[in-house]
Amino acid sequence: MGFFSGLAAEKYDRQYSDKRLLNRIFDYFKKQSNSLIVIGIALIVRSIIEAFNPVIVARGLDQVTQQEISLEFIFILSGIILGLGILSWFANLIYRRFSAKIIAVIIQQLATDAFKASVRQDMSFHDSFQSGKIVSRITSDTREFGQLITLSTDVLMQLISSIILAVILVQTEWRLALAIFILVPLLFLLVMRYRHVARKITREGMRAMANVNATIKETVSGIAIAKNFRQEDKIYDEFEDANQTSFEVNIKRGFALSIVFPVLRTIGGIATALLVYFGAMTVTEGFVTAGAWYLFLSTLDRFLFPVMSLSSFWTNVQTGLSAAERIFALIDAKHSVEQIDSIFPRNLQGQIDMQSVDFSYTPDEPVLEDFSLHIEPGETLALVGHTGAGKTSIGRLIARFYEFQDGEILIDGKDIRRFDLVALRRQMGIVSQVPFLFSGTVEENIQYGCPVCNRPELIRIANQIGDGEWLETLPNGLNTEVGERGSQLSMGQRQLVALMRVLIQRPSIFILDEATASIDPFTEKQIQTALELILSDTTSILIAHRLSTVKSSDRILVMRQGEIIEEGNHSALMAQGEHYAELYNTYFRHQSLEYVEEAKKYVRK
C-alpha cells in the first residue's frame, strides 16, 4: 500500500499553479530560515572542497615534477589535504544534522496540519474518500516530500562541485575539457534510455508480483481448510506455481538491475583509457603539464556519476511536488458543513423539528425532499423501511454530520446552524451501526466522550446492565485491552461499550443506527437493557433493525424513498395491515417468538 495508493487522484484534488505551490511550500520553510542558511553555507563549503581537492593534488604533483621536494612541501601539501578532509567531514556533519532537523520539523508540521484538516472535515468528505488513502497522504506523502529535500540538496551539491570543476578544467585545457563534456550528454541519453526500459520491466514485475503475492496469501490462509479436507497436495501445487512464477519474474528484474552499473563502469574505463592516451599526447605537445593531465584523469568520474542522479532528478522532483500538492489539497479541501453562529447549548430539552428539508449526498440523487418531522422532547422514535429509504440520513442530519440543501432543522426551536458544533455534539449520544472502539482499555473507550467521568460512576452504570455480568465476561474487566479497532471484543461486547459510552455522557438526544450483526441471545438481552436505560429519559432516534427496539418505541415512522408513508405504534400499525405489516413480514417476523415456535414446522414445508 502506501506509495502507490497515495498516487491515485481524488475528487478533492485541485491543480495548484507552480507559483502557488511553491509559495505554500515556502511558507513552511520560512520559519526555518536560520537553519536553511546554515545548510546553504555547509553545502557550498563542501562542494568547493570536493572540487578543489583533486586540483590541489594535481598542482602538488606539478611541483614535485619540477623541483626537489622539501620536507616543508610535504607537510604543507598533506596538511592541506588533511585540513580539507577534516573540514569536509565537518561541513558534512553540519549539513546533515541541520537538514535532518529541517526535514523532520517540516514533515511534522505538514502531517499535523493535514491531520487537523482531515479530522475537522465533515462526514460527507470521509464517506467519499477511503481512510487508507487519507492516512497515506498524511504519512507517506509527507515523507516523500521530505525525501525531495534530501535529494535536491544532494544533487545541488554534486552540481555545484561539478560546475566549479568544469570551470577549472576549461581554464586548464579547453580541448580536453570539451572532450569530457561531450561524454556527459551521451551518457545522459544512455541512462535515460535505460531508465525507460528499467521502469517498464519494474512495472511489469510489480504487477506480476502483486498477483503472486495474492496467490501466496491465499494459499497460506487456505492451509487450515485444505487440511480439514485433506487437500494438501492440491494447494501445494498451487503454491508451487506461484512461487516459481515469482522466481522467474524476479530473475528478469534482477537482470535489468544488475546491468546498469557495470555498463557505466565500462564506459568510464574506456573514457579513462582514451584520456590517458590523448592526454599524454597533449602533454608531449606541451599544451598542459603532467599535473593537469592527472587532474583530468582523476576527475573524470565526477562527471559520470552525477549523470545518474541527474537523470532521475526530474522524475523525483515531480514525485515530490505532486506529493506536496496532494498534501495541500487535503489541507485546503472545502468543508460543506459551516456554522453561522456559536450558541452554547445548555441542557437541551431535545425537541427536534425538521421543516421542508431537502437533502442529497450528490446533486442528482435527492434523498429527502420537502421533508418535515417533529419530535417531542423525550420521545422515542423508531425509523423503519428498506435500505435507501433515508432513515440513516435523518440521524446524520440531526447529528450535523452533513449539510442539507434547503429547509430548516431546529433543535429546541433554534436553527441547528447557529449552535457551537462541538458543544452541540456533547449533548448528543451517537452510536453508529458498526461500533468503533479505539485501541486501549474498555474503560478508556467508555470515557472517550466524557474524559471527566470517574470510575465509580462508570461501575455503577455498568452494574445496571444485567447485574454487571458483561464486565465479568471480559478477561480483565474494565482494564481489558480492546485491541486495534476493538478487535479483541465480540461484536456484542463492542456494542455494549458503545452504549456505555453514551450512557455516562447523559445526552439530551440519542441517535442509534442499530447493528444488524448477530449477537448471542444473552448479550442481546443486556444490550436491550442498556438501551432501555438510555431511552427512558432521552429524545431518541432509532434506526431500528430489531423487533424489540421497534416495539419499545413511542412512535414508528415507516419510510420509503425519503417520505414518511405510515406512522403510529406497533400494534396500531399491525392492525392497519399495510406498509408496516408488510415490512414486519420481510424484516421482523423471524425475530418473533411465534416464528421460533413454528420454525420446525415451517421449515419442513
Binding site: 614535485v64 544534522r97 470521509h126 490462509s221
Partner: protein
C-alpha cells in the same frame, strides 16, 4: 510426495529439494546458500576480480605518468598502458555484472527455496497450530520476511563482499611499491572496523525508536480517521489533534536524533585522514628516492578506492541484519513444534456419532482454564445447541472433538473410544467443521463446493447446493456455478458463504457435523433458507451447533448453556425453561 509415518511428528510432509540445518539462523541460511555454490563461485570470482581490476587504473596511470616525465616519452608505450586500462575495465564491467547478477540469482533461488521450505513445513503442521496462529502473521512470514532474506543476499552480501575486497587492494598494492606503505591502509582497516561498530551500536537503538514512534503515530492516525464518526460524535476533534501532534512530535524528535548520529559518521573522517597521511608517507619515500612519482600516484589512487566500502557499508550492513532478523522469525515458525500425532495404528471405523465428555479440563498454554470439568453425553443423531456469551468456551468445547486441541485432563470419547486412540485421519475425515469465517478459494463456486470431494460430478455438486439452499443464489450469478469468487468485486454475504460451506458438507456427508453459526439474516426469507439448510444438514447425523438463533436453540434435542468455561445448564428446551432463569429470560419478549 509422501505421507509420513508415525515416527514423524508432523501430520504431513512433502519432499523438498534438500534438507536444511535448523539449529541457528546463520547455519540455516548457510545450508540454503551452499546449494547455490556454482552461482556463489561465479559471484565471488566476479567480486574479487572486479576489485583487482579496479586497481589496474591507478597503477597504469602511475606508469604512464612516469613515462611522460622521461625526457623522451614514448607515446606507443603510453598507448599500450591505455589499452590495458581500456581492456581491463571492459573485462571488469563484465565481471562486475557477473557479481551482481550472480548474487541476484542466489538471492532469488534462496527466496524460492526458503518459501518452499516454510510452506511445506506449514502444511505439515497440526490444526492446533493453524488455529492458534494468526493468518496475517503467517502471510507476513511467507512474503515480507522471505523477501528480506532475499535482500540480505542482494544487495546485502553483494555490496558487503563486493566492497570488502576494495579494503584489501591498497593493502596488497601498497607494499609492491615499498613495504612500509602497508601501514596506512592497515591502520585504516583496523580503525574503520571499530568506527563502524561504534556507529552501528549507537545508531541501532535510535532507528528502532524512530520506527516505533512512527508505528505509534501511524496506528493511532488510521484509527482516528477510520473512527472519525465517533471522534466527531463525541466532540473529540481537538483532543485527537493534540494526541496526533504529540505523537508526530515524538517521531520528529527521534528522527532528529537519528540525523545527529548519522551526521557523525566517523569512517568518512577516517578516510580523509588516511588519504592525507598516505600521501605524506608516499611523498616522504619519494623524497628519499625509495619510490618514484608514478608509484606515488598509483598509491594515492588505490587509497581512494577505500571510499567505496566506506560509504556503502552502512546500508549494506543494515540490510544483512534485517535479513538475519527475518531468518530468525521464519526459523522460529518452522521450529514451532506440533503437539498432535497421527496415530496411524489407531482405531478406524465408521463413526456412529456418540460423543462423551468426561471431566474435561482444557487451557491454552497451561494458563487459565478455558474449560473446567465438562461432563456431557451426546447420543448418535442428536442435534445439540451450544449457547453462551463470547469467551464462555463454546468454540473451544467443539474443537476438542476432532482433536484440533487436546484436553489437559479428562477425556473425550467418540463411539466409546478416546479420541486420542483414533487414527487421526479417520476421525477427522468423518467430522466436518464449518467455521465462523468460511474460507473460500478464488476459484469457481463449483470447485469450492467440491473441495472435499474432488471427483464429484456436476450433478452431485448441484444436488448438494440445492440441499444447502444455495442453488438459487448461485443461479442468480451470470456465470452460475462457474462464477469465480473474489473476481471483479464478486463478494458473498456471510449467509451465502455459510451455505456454500454447508453444500461442501452435504457432499462429503460427515457423520458428525460441527457448525459455528454466527451469521445474521437481514430478512425473514433468507432466515427461512438458512434455517432450512441447517435443519436439513442436521438430519441423520450428530450435529453440534454454536448458535445465536433462538429457533435453532428451541428445537435442538439438547441445549448446553456455557458460562465462563463451565456448563451452566444442560437439557431440553422444556427442562431449561423450567430450571434456568437466564435461559427463560432470552425467550421472553
Amino acid at each position: 510426495m509422501t505421507t509420513s509415518t508415525a515416527d514423524n511428528i508432523t501430520e504431513f510432509s512433502f519432499e523438498t529439494k534438500y534438507e536444511t540445518n535448523r539449529r541457528s539462523p546463520s547455519l540455516w541460511i548457510l545450508s540454503h546458500a551452499n546449494h547455490q555454490w556454482p552461482w556463489i563461485l561465479m559471484a565471488l570470482i566476479g567480486a574479487i576480480s572486479n576489485a583487482a581490476l579496479a586497481s589496474v587504473v591507478p597503477i597504469y596511470i602511475g606508469r604512464a605518468f612516469n613515462e611522460i616525465l622521461t625526457p623522451s616519452p614514448s607515446l606507443a608505450l603510453i598507448g599500450r598502458f591505455a589499452l590495458i586500462i581500456g581492456l581491463s575495465q571492459t573485462l571488469r564491467g563484465i565481471l562486475q555484472f557477473g557479481r551482481n547478477f550472480g548474487f541476484e540469482i542466489i538471492a532469488q533461488n534462496i527466496e524460492k527455496y526458503v518459501r518452499q521450505e516454510l510452506y511445506v513445513n506449514l502444511l505439515g503442521k497440526s490444526m492446533t497450530f493453524h488455529n492458534l496462529q494468526s493468518v496475517g502473521d503467517l502471510m507476513a512470514r511467507a512474503t515480507n520476511d522471505v523477501r528480506e532474506v532475499n535482500y540480505m543476499f542482494s544487495p546485502g552480501f553483494n555490496l558487503v563482499i563486493g566492497s570488502l575486497n576494495f579494503l584489501f587492494i591498497p593493502l596488497i598494492v601498497g607494499p609492491s611499491f615499498h613495504i612500509s606503505l602497508i601501514a596506512t591502509p592497515a591502520a585504516f582497516i583496523i580503525l574503520y572496523v571499530f568506527a563502524l561498530w561504534h556507529y552501528l551500536s549507537i545508531l541501532n537503538p535510535i532507528t528502532t525508536e524512530v520506527r516505533q514512534n512512527f508505528g505509534k503515530m501511524n496506528s493511532r492516525l488510521s484509527e482516528a480517521i477510520d473512527g472519525v464518526e465517533v471522534v466527531k460524535g463525541s466532540a473529540q476533534e481537538e483532543a485527537e489533534i493534540q494526541r496526533f501532534r504529540s505523537n508526530a512530535v515524538d517521531y520528529r524528535d527521534a528522527s532528529i536524533e537519528q540525523g545527529k548520529v548519522e551526521s557523525r559518521f566517523l569512517p568518512m573522517l577516517l578516510l580523509g585522514i588516511t588519504m592525507a597521511v598516505g600521501l605524506a608517507h608516499a611523498l616522504f619515500l619519494l623524497r628519499q628516492g625509495l619510490i618514484n612519482i608514478g608509484d606515488v600516484i598509483a598509491y594515492f589512487g588505490t587509497l581512494s578506492l577505500l571510499g567505496f566500502p566506506t560509504f556503502v557499508s552502512i546500508f549494506a550492513y543494515s540490510q544483512i541484519s534485517l535479513g538475519f532478523a527475518s531468518a530468525d522469525r521464519i526459523l522460529d515458525l518452522i521450529k514451532t513444534e506440533n503437539k498432535l500425532d497421527q496415530n496411524t495404528e489407531g482405531y478406524a471405523q465408521p463413526i456412529k456419532g456418540a460423543i462423551k465428555f468426561e471431566n474435561v479440563f482444557f487451557s491454552y498454554d497451561d494458563q487459565e482454564h478455558i474449560l473446567e470439568n465438562i461432563n456431557l453425553e451426546i447420543f448418535p443423531g442428536q442435534t445439540v445447541a451450544i449457547v453462551g456469551q463470547t469467551g464462555s468456551g463454546k468454540t473451544s468445547l467443539v474443537k476438542l472433538i476432532n482433536r484440533t486441541f487436546d484436553v489437559n485432563e479428562g477425556r473425550i470419547l467418540v463411539d466409546g473410544i478416546d479420541v486420542r486412540d483414533w487414527y487421526l485421519e479417520s476421525l477427522r475425515n468423518q467430522i466436518s467443521t464449518i467455521e465462523q469465517d468460511v474460507f473460500l478459494f478464488s476459484r469457481s463456486i463449483a470447485d469450492n463446493i467440491a473441495f472435499g470431494k474432488q471427483d464429484a460430478t456436476r450433478e452431485e455438486v448441484i444436488e448438494a447446493a440445492k440441499e444447502a439452499q444455495a442453488h438459487e443464489f448461485i443461479k442468480s450469478f451470470d456465470n452460475g456455478y462457474e462464477t469465480v469468487i473474489g473476481e471483479r468485486g464478486m463478494t458473498l454475504s456471510g449467509g451465502q458463504r455459510q451455505r456454500l460451506a454447508l453444500a461442501r458438507a452435504f457432499l462429503t456427508s460427515p457423520h458428525i457435523l460441527i457448525l459455528d453459526d454466527s451469521t445474521s439474516a437481514i430478512d425473514s426469507e433468507t432466515e427461512d433458507r438458512i434455517q432450512k439448510a441447517i435443519f436439513r444438514a442436521a438430519e441423520g447425523r450428530t450435529t453440534l451447533i454454536i448458535t445465536h438463533r433462538l429457533s435453532q436453540i428451541r428445537w435442538a434435542n439438547l441445549i448446553v448453556v456455557m458460562r465462563k468455561g463451565k456448563i451452566a445448564a444442560v437439557g431440553t428446551h422444556e427442562e431449561l425453561m423450567e430450571k434456568s432463569k437466564s435461559y427463560r429470560q432470552i425467550f421472553r419478549e
